[in-house]
C-alpha cells in the first residue's frame, strides 16, 4: 500500500515538475519533440534511479555513521555529476543518435534538480528503506516523464498554432505548464 501511495503521490498529486518545481530546465528545454522527450525521460529515469541508489547507500553507510550529514549536498552532487558524465561518454560511443538527440541536455541532467532533489527527498521518506528509495526515484521519474511527454506533445501541436507574437516561446510554454499544473490540482487529497 505504501508503494501505491508513493507512486500516486509522485506521479499525480505531487508531480515532481508540476507541483514540486524540480527539473524545470529539462522540462522546458527538451520538450519540443515527443521523440526527444521520450529519450530524455528514459535518460532521467536511468540516472535518477542509479543516483538514488548510490546516494542512499552513501548516506546510510558512510555519511550518517561518520557524522558527516552536512556533506550531503556536496557528496551527492559529486556522485551524480560523475555518473552523468560517465553516461554521456558511454552514450556518445554506444548510441550516437540518442546522443545527438539529447545533445546539450545530457550534461544538463547533472544540473537537473530533479535528480538531486529526488536523491535528497528519498532520504526523508517515512519508514525509509533502500527499496522504498528506489521505488520513490522510479515513481518520480515516471511523473517527470509523464509531464514531459504530455507537455512535449502539446508543444508539438502548438507549433502549428498561430501563437500571438508576444506569447511565443517561453511564455506560452510556461502558461501550458501552469494550466497543466492547474488541472493536476484536481488530484489533491488522493493520498
Amino acid at each position: 500500500m505504501d508503494y501505491i501511495i508513493i507512486l500516486i503521490a509522485a506521479v499525480f498529486v505531487n508531480n515532481i515538475v508540476l507541483s514540486q518545481f524540480l527539473g524545470i530546465c529539462p522540462f522546458l528545454g527538451v520538450s519540443s519533440k515527443v521523440s526527444t522527450s521520450v529519450g530524455m525521460s528514459g535518460a532521467v529515469m536511468f540516472v535518477m534511479t542509479i543516483a538514488t541508489i548510490t546516494t542512499y547507500l552513501l548516506h546510510q553507510y558512510i555519511l550518517v555513521p561518520a557524522g558527516l550529514d552536512y556533506l550531503r549536498t556536496i557528496t551527492f552532487i559529486l556522485v551524480i555529476a560523475a555518473l552523468v558524465q560517465m553516461v554521456e561518454i558511454i552514450l556518445k560511443k554506444v548510441s550516437p543518435p540518442l546522443y545527438q538527440a539529447l545533445g546539450v541536455f545530457l550534461p544538463l541532467i547533472t544540473t537537473n534538480c530533479a535528480v538531486l532533489g529526488v536523491a535528497i527527498l528519498a532520504l526523508g521518506l517515512e519508514g525509509g528503506s533502500l527499496m522504498k528509495a528506489v521505488f520513490f526515484a522510479v515513481s518520480n521519474s515516471i511523473g517527470f516523464g509523464l509531464a514531459l511527454i504530455v507537455f512535449a506533445s502539446i508543444r508539438e501541436s502548438l507549433e502549428l498554432a498561430d501563437i500571438p507574437e508576444g506569447m511565443k516561446g517561453v511564455p506560452i510554454n510556461l502558461l501550458v505548464a501552469g494550466l497543466l499544473s492547474l488541472a493536476f490540482l484536481g488530484f489533491t487529497g488522493l493520498v
Binding site: Y70, L71, T188, G189, V191
Partner: protein
C-alpha cells in the same frame, strides 16, 4: 590561456586539491555552525512549549514521556511541565491524517484539569489561504481556556461548538479531532504525570 592537459595525473591532482580545500573549509564552517544550529532547534521547541504551557521551571524536553497509544502508530510525546516540582500541565502532540491534504500535527498544552491552555500548529499541508487559516488567532482563540469535557470539539455543523473556518470545514474538523486526540491522551495519562515528579 594554457589549459592543463587531460592526463590522469592532472585530473586526479586537481580534484584532489579542490576536495581537500573544500573538505577543510566545510568542516570548519560546520564546526562554527553546529552549535547555533543545535541550539536553535532546541530553542524553537522550547519556544513552542512556552507558548502552550503555563510557566514552568523544569526542562520539559528532558522530561519527555513517550506513551504508547492506540490512536497512532508511534508513541505519543508528552512534555510535562512542573513549577516548584508541582505538576502544572503538559503539552501533548496531537495529530490527524484527516486534513484536506493529509497530516495535521499540533501541540496542545493542558492544565492539570485538562483545560486547553494554547495550541500551536507544528505541521500541516493545507491549502494556503484556506486551511492555513487555522493558524490564525481568530480560530485558535476559541479553544483557549476550554475544557474539552465541557466543550464539544466538533464543528457547529456537526453539533459541536467549534466555529469552522470558512471554506475549510474539513480542516476545522480535522483540527478538532487532533485536539480531541491530544486531550484523550492527556486525560489517560494525567495521573501518571502528576506522580512522576512526586
Amino acid at each position: 590561456m594554457s589549459k592543463k592537459k587531460d592526463t590522469f595525473i592532472n585530473m586526479v591532482l586537481s580534484l584532489f586539491v579542490i576536495t581537500i580545500i573544500s573538505g577543510f573549509s566545510l568542516g570548519y564552517v560546520n564546526e562554527l555552525t553546529i552549535g547555533p544550529i543545535e541550539k536553535g532547534k532546541i530553542e524553537r521547541k522550547v519556544n513552542a512549549l512556552k507558548l502552550v504551557l503555563p510557566t514552568f521551571d523544569n526542562n520539559p524536553i528532558e522530561d519527555v514521556q513517550l506513551i504508547k497509544s492506540s490512536l497512532v502508530q508511534d508513541s505519543v510525546e508528552v512534555f510535562p511541565a512542573y513549577e516548584n516540582s508541582k505538576f502544572v500541565g503538559a503539552a501533548i502532540i496531537g495529530s490527524t491524517e484527516k486534513g484536506f491534504s493529509g497530516l495535521i500535527k499540533l501541540i496542545v498544552g493542558f492544565s492539570p484539569e485538562g483545560t486547553i491552555k494554547n495550541i500551536v500548529v507544528l505541521e500541516q499541508k493545507e491549502t494556503p489561504g484556506l486551511g492555513t487559516k487555522m493558524k490564525d488567532e481568530k480560530f485558535l482563540a476559541q479553544f483557549r481556556e476550554k475544557n474539552p469535557s465541557a466543550f464539544n470539539l466538533k464543528v457547529t455543523k456537526d453539533g459541536g461548538e467549534v466555529d469552522a473556518l470558512t471554506g475549510a470545514t474539513i480542516t476545522s474538523r480535522a483540527f478538532g479531532e487532533a485536539v480531541q486526540m491530544a486531550y484523550d491522551e492527556f486525560m489517560k495519562n494525567n495521573g501518571l504525570l502528576i506522580e512522576l515528579k512526586n
